[in-house]
């Protein structure tokens, strides 16, 4: 009785909704808005997280001071920070981005900090002996060693941000995938929910294939 019903629509029905969404421009628009928020939130979280993670990994005193704070922020439920950001700063775009960044940042810091702790001291000493200086050491000695950690933070981060960003949009924005999914939920429109999910999965696959895999290949070309 569930087959070919509103609750479990056929692939054809989902494809039709997908196509209509694309033609009307609704689906690309909302997907685009969400992607833009993702790009901004992700970039800020990664840049800040890498910088703070490297500093904490290299400085034991700072690390000891911030360690507890990090654990607290790592474990605060995403929903709490989202609601607080909206309550404190209003239902505005920057509050939405801030909520995303606050949720993602501790994960990046912890991952990069572990990577920095695992840096090869012999290579760092070599760089000191040959007067590499800070920039050369960061680019040629530290960063290549952090690559697996950065890629780990990127992949797990993208997955986390996708999930958070939809809740952020659902709670306080009037556009984006999260807002649309909320609307479809209220209308009990499962076909649209599935059509948007397909678009979502396709974008993730494209990011992996067109950006992350080539980055991996380039960075790890030296390996046998």
């Amino acid at each position: 009785m569930y087959l070919n019903s509103n609750t479990l629509p056929t692939p054809e029905a989902v494809a039709k909704v997908f196509w209509l969404g694309c033609v009307s421009g609704q689906l690309p628009f909302h997907l685009g808005v969400t992607l833009l928020r993702l790009a901004v939130g992700f970039s800020i979280a990664m840049l800040l997280g890498c910088a703070i993670g490297i500093v904490l990994g290299r400085n034991k005193k700072l690390d000891a001071f911030f360690d507890n704070w990090l654990v607290i922020f790592l474990n605060i439920p995403a929903l709490v920070t989202i609601i607080l950001c909206y309550v404190w700063f209003g239902l505005i775009e920057s509050a939405a981005i801030l909520a995303v960044v606050i949720n993602k940042l501790p994960n990046v810091i912890v991952t990069i900090r572990e990577g920095t702790r695992a840096l090869d001291q012999d290579l760092l000493d070599m760089a000191r002996c040959y007067h590499f200086g800070k920039r050369k050491t960061l680019v040629h000695v530290i960063w290549p060693q952090l690559h697996p950690f950065v890629m780990g933070a990127t992949r797990s981060g993208l997955a986390l941000i996708w999930k958070i960003i939809l809740v952020v949009e659902l709670l306080g924005r009037s556009n984006g995938m999260g807002y649309q999914l909320h609307l479809f939920f209220q209308l009990f429109d499962v076909a649209s929910i599935l059509a948007y999910t397909v678009a979502f999965v396709a974008v993730i696959q494209l990011i992996e294939l067109l950006i992350l895999k080539p980055l991996d290949k380039k960075a790890l070309r030296w390996r046998r």
């Binding site: 012999d122 290579l123 000493d125 070599m126 000191r128 002996c129 040959y130 007067h131 590499f132 050369k136 040629h140 000695v141 290549p144 960075a219 070309r221 030296w222 390996r223 046998r224």
Partner: protein, 242 residues
């Protein structure tokens, strides 16, 4: 090239009860090849790290000419310490000063017979080749002192001999002050102008001996062995350090 004076009054590790180096005085004449010979664990690497400026927790002074400063160094570590994600050439280029011309690399690669391997990543090379690259990198920066920490350890005898001969060829073409650490007396005699024997706990200079064998005779193993026997006979204090 300037003469270098190294005076270390005391070097004690925080967890150790006694100093690892005490009252050690070394004078390095310019363009001299010096071998430091001493038992394993006597603190030779610590000494090189102090000269390199990697370890500053010691009481003493280093003088380059009349100046209290660390000399510009090239360091060949026991493990070649090449960046595996950079090619052979890039590894050498990265060590150069901004004002140095990379042309020097071509000449050095040729002497060390590595021109063909310059665009290869280090992981694809043998240990002997990696060691040769580390030697090129150290020469390329035109150092005031070249530090070498048992660079031929764990190489098989023919490869060690080949790399040693290439090192001497390079050093004769581009003379530099070399401080070469080893616990192999034959290797030390084959390379050095002067041998400095070091004792353990704490490390002190026990004796200094010049090697009178002509450079052209250094490949002659009989000459090396006969000088070694003569050394052990005339300097019984050396025996317990080997």
């Amino acid at each position: 090239m300037t003469d270098i004076q190294i005076n270390i009054n005391n070097k004690t590790y925080p967890t150790a009860s006694q100093p690892s180096i005490a009252n050690l005085k070394l004078s390095l004449n310019s363009n001299e090849f010096i071998c430091l010979v001493g038992p394993s664990g006597c603190g030779k690497t610590t000494l090189l790290n102090i000269i390199a400026g990697l370890d500053n927790a010691y009481d003493g002074e280093i003088l380059v000419g009349q100046q209290h400063t660390h000399p510009k160094i090239g360091y060949v570590f026991q493990n070649p310490r090449l960046l595996p994600w950079r090619t052979v050439r890039e590894n050498i280029e990265l060590a150069l000063d901004d004002n140095q011309s990379p042309e020097v690399i071509d000449a050095l690669l040729e002497v060390m017979q590595l021109t063909q391997a310059q665009h290869v990543y280090p992981e694809r090379l043998s240990l002997g080749m990696s060691r040769r690259i580390a030697i090129i990198r150290a020469f390329a920066v035109d150092p005031e002192v070249l530090l070498m920490d048992e660079p031929f350890v764990s190489l098989d005898a023919p490869t060690a001999r080949q790399v040693r001969e290439l090192l001497i060829k390079l050093w004769q073409q581009r003379p530099h002050t070399v401080l070469f650490v080893t616990h192999d007396l034959r290797e030390a005699i084959a390379l050095a102008d002067r041998l400095i024997f070091l004792s353990a706990s704490p490390m002190q200079a026990v004796s200094e001996i010049s090697v009178p064998i002509a450079r052209s005779e250094r490949g002659n193993e009989l000459a090396i062995e006969s000088f070694r026997q003569q050394l052990l006979q005339n300097h019984p204090e050396i025996k317990q350090l080997l």
